[in-house]
């Protein structure tokens, strides 16, 4: 509630002159004079929105806090390139969200200035930018899924280290009847029907098939297998990231990339915890974006004149908060 009844002693309220001369404006009794006074100088909707946002601050603080604590407490954490994160895409998404924050502010200003048409246009633009953000996010998720990075097994094909468990997982995958057929097909394909890259990859695949089946297998052999399946991109000593976008430039990309049906287990040290935190944080953020988009769609049904400015302001407050969370998520996930 925005207004609370406050009893004021005689002579202290704005109508004191009428009390001083003994009359009580026809009240006829000597009870306290009640007057409405707002509890906080803001509208009810905005108060509720801010209360909600203060709970949201704690919600995301818990998520971000656990991420930071998990990440810095972990003995090994994957580098952004190990888990196929692309910094330019993340920076682009940051830019998209900042733009959408500006457009919703402009929608509010237009509505206050009684320019309903303009307000609608800005609102529509905000909706489109939010959708673009989710689209890019979906594309990024797809890049993770295609590399077998899921938050949980059985879908996740990420192993923490090239140990015996990893070796047996690779053997199990190679022993899958579907894969056996595919491998036979690949072995029987004449070399001139394959690209040079595929021929070289086929030779390497045959080599690792022998390696995982060998009884005198060494830990280093399994590291070689893991490196062949999905190499961990390295940063050049000069800090050059050129060509790192899709793994190593050209010939050095993993067998999983060259033969997408292969879907062999891969090794990313620390990758499982990374996947859990990444999908949890970005997933909750994406849900918040989605809710914002629903709110904008509903608001587009209004006239968006000065009378709706309060609604736009509240939706905007929520949207800026979503932007705020991403401002912290982007460097923490993509650049740390």
């Amino acid at each position: 509630m925005n207004a609370s009844a406050i009893s004021l002693p005689h002579g202290h309220d704005g109508h004191s002159h009428s009390h001083d001369d003994g009359h009580h404006d026809g009240h006829g009794h000597h009870g306290p004079v009640l007057q409405y006074q707002p509890g906080l100088p803001l509208s009810r909707g905005k108060l509720i929105m801010w209360l909600f946002l203060s709970t949201e601050i704690m919600f995301f603080a818990a998520l971000l806090g656990s991420y930071v604590v998990l990440r810095f407490g972990a003995p090994v954490w994957p580098k952004p390139h190990h888990v196929h994160l692309s910094e330019p895409i993340g920076a682009f998404n940051t830019f998209v969200l900042i733009c959408s924050s500006v457009t919703i502010v402009l929608a509010l200003e237009s509505a206050r200035a009684n320019k309903a048409g303009q307000a609608k246009l800005w609102m529509l633009l905000t909706l489109l930018l939010g959708t673009l953000f989710l689209g890019v996010k979906g594309y990024e998720y797809q890049a993770k899924f295609s590399h077998g990075i899921f938050p949980q097994s059985p879908r996740s094909r990420i192993y923490e280290k090239p140990d015996l468990y990893y070796g047996s997982a690779v053997r199990a995958r190679l022993g899958d009847p579907v894969i056996i057929d595919k491998l036979k097909e690949l072995d029987d394909t004449p070399a001139d029907k394959l690209t040079a890259e595929q021929v070289s990859a086929r030779a390497r695949l045959q080599q690792i098939r022998k390696m995982v089946a060998s009884p005198e297998q060494q830990a280093f052999d399994l590291a070689v297998v893991a490196d062949q399946v999905m190499p961990l991109p390295t940063e050049g000593p000069g800090g050059s990231h050129a060509g790192d976008g899709g793994g190593h430039g050209g010939h050095a990309s993993g067998l999983n990339d060259i033969f997408p049906w292969l879907k062999l287990p891969a090794v990313i040290p620390g990758g499982n915890m990374w996947a859990s935190t990444y999908f949890l944080l970005t997933g909750f953020h994406a849900i918040h974006v989605l809710v914002g988009l629903i709110v904008f769609t509903i608001l587009l049904g209004y006239k968006l004149g000065p009378k709706d400015a309060g609604k736009i302001e509240n939706a905007g407050l929520y949207w800026h908060f979503v932007d705020l969370v991403w401002i912290f998520l982007f460097p923490l996930l993509y650049l740390f």
């Binding site: 707002p38 906080l40 009810r44 203060s54 206050r112 912290f328």
Partner: protein, 172 residues
């Protein structure tokens, strides 16, 4: 959030922001949905665009740590501290100007400071149980968790492959 409430907020000048001129002309606003009078002479599209440009500039700055121009590549902590400073600046800009907190009355402290303190304590509470969970681990867990030695093993495998590829053309 009816007009009445908003108008009621206006009618009581003394509760608005400290230093605010008491709104004597609030009857002029009767038909408008202006709230708390914060948008009078404060907002302005120019100011928002300025904040937008600052946000873009700051995003570029944090992106700088990723580029090859960044001089402290071998000391990641420098980059982390820098990025957090940039993020906090960006967050302050968004909260103060886009969320209008800069122009709000003192209620903003009531809602934001306790929430912020709770947020900080929440994160700190996680440190002993979660952050230090790997200080003492069982032998079995140590056996199965990834360690820096595994990363080194992977790097050695990659190096061995690179050497083999260098040798390959020579053999032909």
């Amino acid at each position: 959030m009816s007009d009445h409430d908003i108008h009621a907020a206006h009618a009581h000048g003394p509760i608005t922001r400290v230093g605010d001129i008491p709104a004597h002309d609030d009857h002029d606003h009767a038909g408008h949905a202006h709230e708390s009078g914060h948008d009078q002479g404060h907002g302005g599209i120019g100011k928002y665009l300025l904040v937008f440009l600052a946000l873009c500039g700051l995003t570029t700055m944090s992106f700088l740590t990723y580029s090859s121009v960044w001089p402290w590549r071998d000391q990641p902590h420098v980059g982390w501290a820098f990025m957090m400073a940039v993020s906090c600046t960006k967050a302050m800009l968004v909260v103060l100007f886009f969320m209008h907190v800069f122009w709000e009355a003192n209620w903003k402290y009531v809602l934001t400071i306790p929430a912020a303190m709770m947020a900080i304590f929440l994160a700190l509470m996680l440190v002993p149980d979660v952050g230090m969970r790997n200080r003492m681990v069982s032998q079995e867990r140590a056996l199965h968790m990834a360690r820096t030695s595994d990363v080194r093993l992977m790097e050695q495998a990659a190096e061995a492959k690179a050497l083999a590829e260098l040798a390959e053309p020579a053999a032909h």
